[in-house]
Amino acid sequence: MLVEKAKKGNKSALNTLLTQNYELLKGYALKMTGDPHLSQDIIQETMLKAVVHIERFKPRAKFSTWLITIATNVYRDTLRKNRNTVFIDETMEASVAGLEETALNNIKYKVVTEILMGLPYEKRSVFILKHYYGYSYEEIAEILKCPIGTVRSRLHNGIKQILSEMEKRRMLD
């Protein structure tokens, strides 16, 4: 219903759609890039493309899935253009729990982000979509435009790489 209104040019409906899916998009972009500044660019570019091409959205899939697909393509294009090393943000918002806990969480966050960013883009995207967002293999295959077998294989290999890396860092003792 909201999507139909947005397609007809209702800006309020469009704004509601974007706002409702903002947190999901933000979380996905941060996990994919490991960089809040790059994430902001990805989010803005994704939302802009969604506004411009809203007529192309077919309601058979969820709007959030469509946004994730656009964000994945935007990030892939960014990687192709830049091929820079990814900046891992070392600052995090201080939590209410306390400075020591914040420092520990920051270290854990940094290490896990390093491990995640150590995965090649194809394996990282599959792992993020499966582990953090619970997409099915079929949905991931549609988002990444690859066969389901490839999705499973990338997931298995990605997780094996994560496990090996954690073992090296003695995080599983």
């Binding site: 989010i43 939302m47 896990v112």
Partner: protein, 135 residues
């Protein structure tokens, strides 16, 4: 520990199947946890720390919508301009061809017809089209 065997694949498949399935059957099938599965569960728990990241990312959705709308308008205008040029070229081609093949008088007859008929056809059509857009 070697994570290359078939065991780790089974652990991964079972883990994500259990996550999506809520049946008791899956829960009781996993009563035997070996070292591979234990390390896997530990690793996945540690990977969840990125869910707690608190980054402030400021995005103005209204500004993005306005920019998107202006891009759409520019693209539509460009498309309409190209269509106009193509249509004008076609009409000109037809008129010139007729003038050459039949007679130059056709050109004059056409001019007179356009000047007299146009105000009574094009303008009402444009008004109706604009009213239709507003609706």
């Amino acid at each position: 520990m070697n994570f290359k065997g078939k065991r780790i694949k089974k652990v991964i498949d079972n883990y994500y199947e259990a996550k999506t399935s809520s049946t008791e059957e899956n829960y009781f099938q996993r009563y035997q946890i070996d070292e591979v599965e234990e390390k896997f569960n530990k690793a996945m728990e540690k990977m969840d720390v990125v869910n707690n990241a608190a980054h402030e990312i400021d995005v103005n959705t209204f500004q993005i919508i306005a920019e998107g709308e202006s891009i759409k308008v520019r693209r539509r205008e460009k498309k309409e301009f190209i269509m106009f040029l193509v249509l004008a070229a076609c009409i000109l081609f037809v008129v010139v061809s007729l003038s050459i093949l039949v007679s130059m008088k056709i050109f004059i007859y056409l001019q007179v017809a356009l000047i007299t008929i146009m105000p009574f056809s094009i303008i009402p059509i444009a008004v109706i089209a604009k009213k239709g857009e507003k609706l």
